[in-house]
Symmetry: C2
Amino acid sequence: MTEYILPLQKLIEEFSRLPGVGQKTAARYAFAVLDMSEEEAENFACAIVNAKKNVKECEICGNLTDQARCVICSDEKRNPEVVCVVEDAKTLMAMEKVKEYNGTYHVLGGAISPMNGITPADLRIKELITRIGTQDIKEIIIATNPNIDGETTAMYLSRLIAPLGVRVTRLAYGVPVGADLEYADEVTLLRALDGRRDIH
Amino acid sequence: MTEYILPLQKLIEEFSRLPGVGQKTAARYAFAVLDMSEEEAENFACAIVNAKKNVKECEICGNLTDQARCVICSDEKRNPEVVCVVEDAKTLMAMEKVKEYNGTYHVLGGAISPMNGITPADLRIKELITRIGTQDIKEIIIATNPNIDGETTAMYLSRLIAPLGVRVTRLAYGVPVGADLEYADEVTLLRALDGRRDIH
């Protein structure tokens, strides 16, 4: 490994904390910072501190926001009777790209994972139950990830919520649009087969 | 494009200034910052500002340093009679990995490039001539990049320096033509060093 002078070495270490960034890429980023003007570097540093300081969780749904309530919870055109439960804000943003969904969200902050020691108490499940108890919610759409932890969380939530008289649904499983069936895994194909629909 | 809240959007913009980072990767990095503790985010920001503030050019050779003189120029075991001229500090570090070279360096800060409007006056060439005039230098090894701008710079320097009675050599074409010295492997650099030739 190359030896860099200390301030540069430290910056490279910081960059290499980012996901998917190794030593070489981190060094490339660090040199890019050295090529910036002092003002640009300060803006960069400020953006990091500001994002960390000003981005909070929406007091209602847990979505990222710089206000008390997120843009979706503050939007009166959104239907508060339908709540889509997602693991994190990134999934919420992916759902928003669809532009078809007009309900609101609830961000859990993860999924139940016995392997990683994440229990229901670590997630925003209590907040969800409170919302169901205080707001007029008709349907909970569970959009946790289609993996073991996501499935566990979906099962847990449905058992918890169904007795409260709220309709609980789950995103459909199937083959992704635009994918090649040849490379789809067996479980996905089985689910797609189970969930087949009539063509009208 | 997804719409993010302002502090997040700003951070994503900052990350996307880094080389080879697009919107998606920048968003991934920004979310990683949100996942950091406040202290970690502040350390990251500090590392950027500190690197920019404390990394300077060595007063002798132009290499990166946080002192007045770089580690190589301060090292009495290095031979000051041989000076390897490189375009930038990244190339210098690549040369150092060879561990065979015991001379000193001179960092030009780029290469002559009529296309990009970079003239000899924009580079640390005057400083090199001053070094030749004041220090006892026996050989100048030109290690500019093996591309058009690097070749132009090498030719310019050899014509400038040869009349001063100093031996001027150029790295052998062991390095692949058109490549960037920064990414050359150690063995290739070593061969290139061994096969260096006089410029006539």
